[in-house]
Symmetry: C2
Subunit: 366 residues, 2 copies
């Protein structure tokens, strides 16, 4: 993997860049739709491509449990298994274990947990997390980390960070070859001093990119913004910076301004399945009775398949009737909305007007 | 609507034909996938076209209740509302009322029933059934009929048939203009004499086509076959013959041989959503553990998008994980399977080898 830093916005910290992988290039700032189980829910790969998606995220924890990473390795990796030809980033499974799996025990060697599917006990070590991601064949792997809940005491966060750093070193050593990139994850809970220490320790080990983890886990929005603002500038300029699990449009606007290059979040896809469709002017709750006779598209400024062809009234009908097509068409729109957002962000940075662009966008809301 | 009878198989009753409508042509024998609520479940219109679908069926009862036929009329009809450019046949709503709606009362003027959605009372007369279908703007409308359950006494079936004939006459008179075709429905339960009477009465009124209704409602398969065999030849040669709600591949093979031109059924789409995928050799229960490592397509003889791109193992994974993509890919395959079946049936009739074709197909099963 290579990262080319093309330019920085002169007035903000926003960066324009390009990630090159064996499966293609990704222009940054980039947003990755989430394909938890080897499919971005409700979409064909061709629909992702038509929406302008370059890289997707897939979840190691879920694929390890089902269908199993060895099966996917036998198929030549996740790209071939799911027929997605572009770059894939896999998380390490850590966050999902802490948020989904019951009865876990964290030891210096790894994590014991029960599957949320059948309750069977599993053990994942940092070594195994890398091995699983190597079996999946993702373009970017993430270090296995511990993600403390919010709030956590300083002492507990410090102890957790020490484990995360130890595991990061183990992941770095466990990795075979360099055709898959490996990113370190900056933890440290809500403590800037620990975040700074995490950056120093990870940079000392040396990774292909750096992620901010353990954010958007229940802390106040302003605290998350503060931590991103204080931590992002500490990261190496020449490596991609990835804010995990974030976020809303406004989160992305703010954090791009702090120098973040990569994002992932279930918001566009999950919201779409629940009938919440995004436009710059408003969030359209498409089941609302006011759309019953609405002949217009979800978003008159949108060029997606859904907006080119279908009325709000038809979408409202499909969502009300709980038709599968509702989820397909809604997801197509929301993913394209996020991709257009990122295209516009990149164009604004390229044109030295990122701050202006952000202000304009925020003023369009009803 | 025009129907051109191109040829008849010299050894069987199989017919090759073409229906021409304002929205395009339909080669017969034809199978119509069911789009109950203005969407063939899990498919985009483009996927139907790619599968070779020429005409779809939509359900008047469902669309009358939700979103309402007046709303669809305001949109210029169902074609535009759902963005399906090809021919549409609408049933009359009768069968759905009898099978889905509780607390009904049948009067000489029409049927009082409660919505299966919210329990509200509705009344549909033969006149209203035509008016609704005119609002939907379908290419082929069906007469409002009474569909007695199986078994029914001769006396009850005779009384029911009298009502159906009266209603057929009312529908014929209620119809405005002739840009939408109107088909009569042959009832008469399991009594050949009543079926014969039904045909005579309907032909006397005069319709653009004739359907066999009230079959596949729980009667033994052989009885259904016998009734089709005895009734189909009585129908006017120069009009299309439609067997409603049928059926399996073998039903279609048999009934085409009796001179049926049109079929509809939820089997391919509903089965697909439950992970039952069709091939000539076997029915693939894709969740079965034997497919866990299977790198082959669902059907190596199939040219559908699903079979061109995805393995049985991936489909099994998607179905096991209950992913929406599972239902999309499964439906694409099963609809294409039915369309290929109809293409092969038409080619066999064209080649004077329909009987041979049927025997060959039946012998391929494992």
């Amino acid at each position: 993997m290579e990262f080319q830093l093309i330019k920085q916005d002169p007035l903000t910290g926003a960066r324009l860049g390009k990630i090159s992988t064996l499966h293609g290039q990704v222009e940054t700032p980039a947003f990755m739709p989430v394909g938890t189980l080897g499919t971005v829910k409700a979409l064909l790969p061709e629909m992702l491509q038509e929406a302008g998606v370059e890289m997707i995220l897939s979840n190691t924890y879920h694929l390890y449990l089902r269908p199993g990473h060895e099966l996917i390795r036998d198929f030549g990796g996740l790209h071939r298994f799911m027929q997605w030809p572009g770059p894939i980033l896999t998380d390490s499974g850590g966050f999902q274990i802490y948020s989904l799996a019951p009865l876990r025990k964290i030891t210096p060697e790894g994590v014991i947990f029960r599957s949320h599917i059948d309750g069977r006990e599993h053990f994942i070590s940092p070594q195994l997390a890398v091995e699983i991601q190597e079996a999946l064949g993702s373009d970017i792997m993430m270090c296995f980390d511990e993600c403390p809940p919010y709030p956590t005491t300083f002492a507990a966060a410090e102890k957790s960070l020490a484990l995360t750093t130890t595991w990061a070193r183990i992941c770095r050593q466990a990795r075979r070859g360099d055709h898959q990139a490996l990113f370190g994850i900056v933890q440290g809970s809500s403590y800037p001093a620990l975040r700074r220490r995490a950056v120093e320790e990870l940079v000392d080990i040396g990774f292909d990119g750096y992620a901010l983890g353990g954010l958007s886990v229940g802390e106040p929005k302003d605290l998350m913004y503060d931590l991103v603002q204080q931590t992002a500038p500490l990261l190496p300029e020449r490596s991609p910076r990835y804010l995990m699990g974030v976020g809303t449009r406004d989160d992305i606007l703010y954090c791009v301004g702090q120098g973040i290059d990569m994002f992932d979040c279930v918001i566009p896809t999950r919201s779409a399945r629940h009938g919440l469709l995004f436009t710059n002017e408003e969030k359209v709750v498409i089941r609302n009775a006011r759309y019953r006779h609405d002949e217009g598209p979800v978003d008159r400024n949108c060029d997606c398949y859904t907006c080119r062809k279908y009325s709000r009234a038809y979408l409202r009908h499909l969502f009300t009737a709980k038709e599968i097509l509702a989820m397909i068409l809604g997801t197509i729109h929301n993913v394209r909305y996020y991709m257009r957002l990122m295209e516009n962000i990149r164009a604004a940075i390229a044109g030295d007007r990122y701050g202006e662009f952000t202000r304009e966008l925020l003023s369009q809301e009803k």
